[in-house]
Each structure stands twice: as structure tokens, then as C-alpha cells.
Chain length 342, copies 2
């Protein structure tokens, strides 16, 4: 056993709210960090830079494991981490924690976006099936009338066989959704302006311009990051172009969609929406989306929740151990990737 | 081209309500039967034995293509089909059309149960994801409070990672569900007393007694046929044994479940149910299941609907052509299988 302060061991610390730590990390995750010879875990619990003793420990941290609610590492927080070499983020989106400046300094950053993508893709896939089966409408109609409602009178189509599903964004989630859609008898089209020729070929789905995707798909599912260039990407014109009977699934970010235009189209009654995210969360009381027909509003739960958080913890610990052993993450975020991811 | 009344050609007819024909068969299906040299299609539309001219044609039919609403082939109907050698059923359950006596006579019977199983398995899989994510409860709580409800306070678990899913019945649907569940990080257990040792091994999932499955699974999904031996198989004791937080999915038949016991447990608030079928359909007004919490009631739409019916038509036409060419169906129902299928 190396000495606890063996300089060959890299000091690692948890840096996240206690609440996040409790919901994401279990004792075995902590035990793996303690057992790893290349690491020195500074504390089995998150350190708080406002606490003097914790601040002392954090000053030695070379690797920090971050999560939901970790403050952005800049200014005073950056100053509290003078030894920082690597950030292993136990959540999907690193933007709330990591700045471009931090990457430019050469601090290595890994996110658990791949692990967090798993439940989002499962959820989006389930919503595709629900959309195809008109479950929202059928359940409401059944409840209201006590009879099987007449789908063919109400909708141009029903069923998942042979429909076109448009995947907006070949992100981690988008790619997993494409993979899952391969198990249905549907045609999959994808839109993503960041793909190069090799990536397009590897997708296993036709790549089309966004306008064409939205106007020709029976189900449109959003998996693009929220960036200045993607805000409002599903605008009024796109929403107006959706086919009668189409459905929009949003498990990505509310800002991607012009929600006023969406509410207008939903109120017209000829499309459906499955919204796990909205531009403002929680959705304010009185928002038109609350009363829009054929709309399922869920409270941002497609991503990791409950037992699914264990995947984030496992991934963050794996990456911390890999960095300690090899000096690099298996899947580091480069400044170039930072520009196009969530 | 053989002569239209070439005795080497086998006469085939549609025998089903016009409404079924219109919702299942498209022009290309009919065209395939017309184009097949080994077949003589007696009419491009269903024949009605109550019509004299149709009755004349039906007397020559060696193969009939049946569907939802075809009357049972016995008595007068059997008499109207003296040349009958084969029934290709364009739906899942052959029982409403085919008797044991007909099979014993040596009439060949094929069902489209395999094709009909596809959308049922898609639907059941989606419901597993919904159940794991507490979507019903979360949507209702979000709508009622305007805030993200606290899953951990309300349920012992949330999320699909590492849960146990119990599949009751390794039927066509059950097998497809098991296959789909392989794409989740869940443990799958199966109960089916009709499996032999080879079939158990081929399943790729642990086989356990029904009592154990129901009492230990986080999500239980029913895919057993409705038979005298399966009615009420999920009885009061089984329902009482379900884990707090568990969910029951029924896309099979309502009679499998003691619905009074289910309503009692649902009203206790600690399990959820996804019921696409009920013992009485439509579910009568005032039934306690209408007002049970954490319950999704859909009007028997998991099976083929709309565009999904095209799979049934394609399968029934494929089998009719195969029978005409070879004298046998690819997947005939034997008297032995008839005893254990839906």
C-alpha cells in the first residue's frame, strides 16, 4: 500500500451539493475511490470551499468529481482549486460547471453525458411508441366517452408501422435513439449540421435538412444541445410545416422550441406533443401548454433519476480512476466539442 | 398463364366483415393474391355466405382468409365451405373463428399472431419505461402542484436501472418483450408453465414460479393467453404480494386479473397499473378502475391498429400463397398448440 500522502497518488475530491451527492453516489462508489492505489480521496463526502478545513483539503485536489449544482469553476472557486488538473462531471451537461477558459487552461474535463443519455433515449423511444399509438388522445377519449374512440376519424394515421421518425441532433442521446428506432419498422431521418461525412455514414440513417425533417416526419424528436445557434430552431414556420397528425417530442431543452407557436398549433388540435422540458421550468401556472390538447407534460425526468443516477456515479468514478492511472480521461471534452455539445 | 379455373390452382376467398377487410387489406395485398399462379382469388372482396352468388363461390373455396369478426367456422358456416382445406387468419387470436373440431378434421390453420405480437410488444415495452419513470404519477403531480413532485418521498424507487421485470407468459408477445427488455439494464424473469427444457434455455431469461415472479418483480407484464387455466391467474393473493412501488402492465386479456383485488390495491396507492385490456370492454361507467390512482386505461389498442394492420394482411397473404404452393403453412397451428395459445 502506498502511503496516504504518497506524491504518486492524485488527490481527488467530491465538489457538489450534499443533496446531489446523496442522490447520485452510493457507498460502493466511494469505496472504489478509496481502494484505488493511484488515488487519494481527500474526503468521503463533498468538500465545501466556504468551510475552512474543507478549503485546505480542496487546495490539494487535482481531480474533482462534480455534479448537479456544483458552482461554475471560475473566479473564487477557481482560486480554491490551485492544483486542479481534471474535472469528472457526474451529470450530462458540463456547461454549468466548466468554462471555455478552464478548458483552454488545459484542465481535462469528462462528462457523464453518455451515461445520462441512456434513460433519455429510453424515454424518448417510449414516447415515439405512445405518439404512434395516440395514447394520450385514446386514453382521454376512452375516459370521456366510455368507448373506443375512432382514431381514423380523428387522425390521418395511427400505428408505428412504416411511419417516418425524425431525430433532430445526433448527440449522445440522438445516436442512442436512432439505435433504438432500428428495432421498429419505421423510417428514420436525422438532421445535424455538425456531422462530418464519416459521422453521417456511421449513423445508419438518412441525413436531411432540418426543414425537410420537420415537414415530412410523422414523429419529430429533439436531441440537440441548447446553444445560441439552436435556440428557437423549431420556430413558428417549422411548427406550421409539421404534417397533420404529427407529434413533437422534446426531452432536450425547452429553448429549442418556439413555445407560443407550438401552443398555437396544439390548440388547432391536429398535432401532439410530449414535453419533458419547457423553456421555463417548472412551467408557470396559466401557461397555454398546460391546457393544450394532446400534450403530455412531464417534469424534466427523462434524464437520470433515482436508480439511474448510479450510472452517472459509476461513470464519474471510472473516469477519475482512469485519469489517475493514465493522466487522461477515456472520453475527454475538447474545446472543439465543447462548442457543439449540451 | 394458367386458365382461371385451372384445377391446379387453389381457390381462395376473403371471409370477414367488410369493415375488417377495409381496415386490414390494401390493394397491393389483393394484387398479390391475383398475381399468384398457384391461386385463384374468387373475389377481390369478402364473400358473404348469406348472399346466394357469394355462397356459390364460397362452396369452391379451399383457402379462406379470415379476420376480426369472421363468424366461427362450425354448423351452417362449416357447411358453406365444403372444399375448405386451410384457414389463414389475418389477426392474432384464432379461437373466435376456429374450433378444435375443425383442426381435428385436418383443416390447416395459420394465425397472424406473430405479426400481431409486434405492436403489442412495442407497447408493453414502452409501458415498462413509463412505469419505471413514474410518468403517470409525475405528470399528475406536476399538473396539480406546478412543481416537480418528490419521487423518493412517494415511491420506494424510480428509474429503470437494475429493476426486475417479470414477464408472465413466453407467448409470441412475451418472447418479443423479453427480447426488447434485453436493451435495458434490467433483470428479466419469466413464468410460463408450458415451456419445456429447450424452450426455457432458449429464452435468455431466468424462469421462476409465478408466485415468485409477482412477489419479487418491480414491473410485472402479462402475456399469457386467456384459457380456463389462466383466468384469474393474477388473483387477490398475488396482487397483495406485489412489492410496494411495483407496476402491473396488462396488454393481454382482462380475465387474467382479479380486477376487484387490483382496484383494492391500486386504491391503497402504492402500486401502478397500465391496463390496455379489462375483463369487460369497454370498461363500464363507474367501474372502480376508472378512478383508481396511478392507473392508465387505454382502449385495447396495443395490438395492431391502423398502419400496423398491414402486417397482418401481409402475413395472411404470405401464408395463403405458401399453402397454395406447398400444401402447408409455414407456421401452422397444431391441436397441441391450440390448447396453450390465445
Amino acid at each position: 500500500m502506498p502511503h496516504p500522502e504518497d506524491p504518486a497518488r492524485r488527490a481527488v475530491a467530491f465538489l457538489m451539493p450534499d443533496r446531489t451527492f446523496a442522490s447520485v453516489f452510493d457507498a460502493p462508489d466511494v469505496a472504489r475511490l478509496i481502494a484505488e492505489p493511484s488515488l487519494e480521496l481527500l474526503s468521503p463526502e463533498p468538500l465545501d470551499p466556504r468551510d475552512l478545513a474543507d478549503r485546505e483539503l480542496l487546495s490539494r485536489a487535482e481531480i474533482v468529481i462534480t455534479g448537479w449544482g456544483t458552482p461554475v469553476i471560475e473566479g473564487e472557486m477557481r482560486g480554491a482549486l490551485p492544483a486542479l488538473a481534471a474535472v469528472s462531471h457526474a451529470a450530462g451537461t458540463v456547461r454549468p460547471v466548466v468554462t471555455d477558459a478552464l478548458l483552454d487552461e488545459g484542465v481535462a474535463v469528462a462528462s457523464a453525458a453518455g451515461a445520462n443519455a441512456v434513460p433519455v433515449a429510453e424515454f424518448a423511444f417510449a414516447m415515439v411508441v405512445l405518439a404512434a399509438k395516440r395514447v394520450l388522445w385514446a386514453e382521454e377519449g376512452y375516459r370521456a366517452s366510455g368507448r373506443q374512440p375512432d382514431a381514423r376519424a380523428a387522425w390521418p394515421w395511427i400505428g408505428s408501422h412504416g411511419i417516418r421518425v425524425g431525430v433532430v441532433g445526433a448527440s449522445h442521446v440522438g445516436q442512442l435513439v436512432i439505435e433504438r428506432l432500428g428495432s421498429l419498422d419505421v423510417e428514420v431521418v436525422v438532421s445535424d449540421p455538425t456531422l462530418d461525412a464519416d459521422q453521417r455514414r456511421a449513423l445508419g440513417a438518412e441525413v436531411v435538412p432540418l426543414e425537410e425533417l420537420v415537414a415530412t416526419s410523422d414523429v419529430v424528436t429533439l436531441h440537440a444541445p441548447s446553444l445560441p445557434s439552436t435556440r428557437g430552431m423549431i420556430g413558428r414556420e417549422a411548427i406550421a410545416s409539421m404534417k397533420p397528425g404529427a407529434a413533437l417530442i422534446n426531452t432536450a431543452r425547452g429553448e429549442l422550441v418556439d413555445e407560443e407557436a407550438l401552443a398555437d398549433r396544439l390548440e388547432a388540435g391536429d398535432i401532439a406533443a410530449f414535453l419533458d422540458v419547457t423553456a421555463r421550468e417548472p412551467l408557470p401556472a396559466g401557461d397555454r401548454l398546460w391546457s393544450a390538447p394532446n400534450t403530455l407534460l412531464t417534469p424534466h425526468l427523462a434524464g437520470s433519476v433515482g436508480n439511474e443516477n448510479g450510472r452517472l456515479a459509476a461513470h464519474a468514478v471510472d473516469e477519475a480512476i482512469r485519469f489517475a492511472r493514465t493522466g487522461a480521461f477515456a472520453d475527454a471534452i475538447t474545446p472543439r466539442r465543447m462548442a457543439v455539445i449540451a
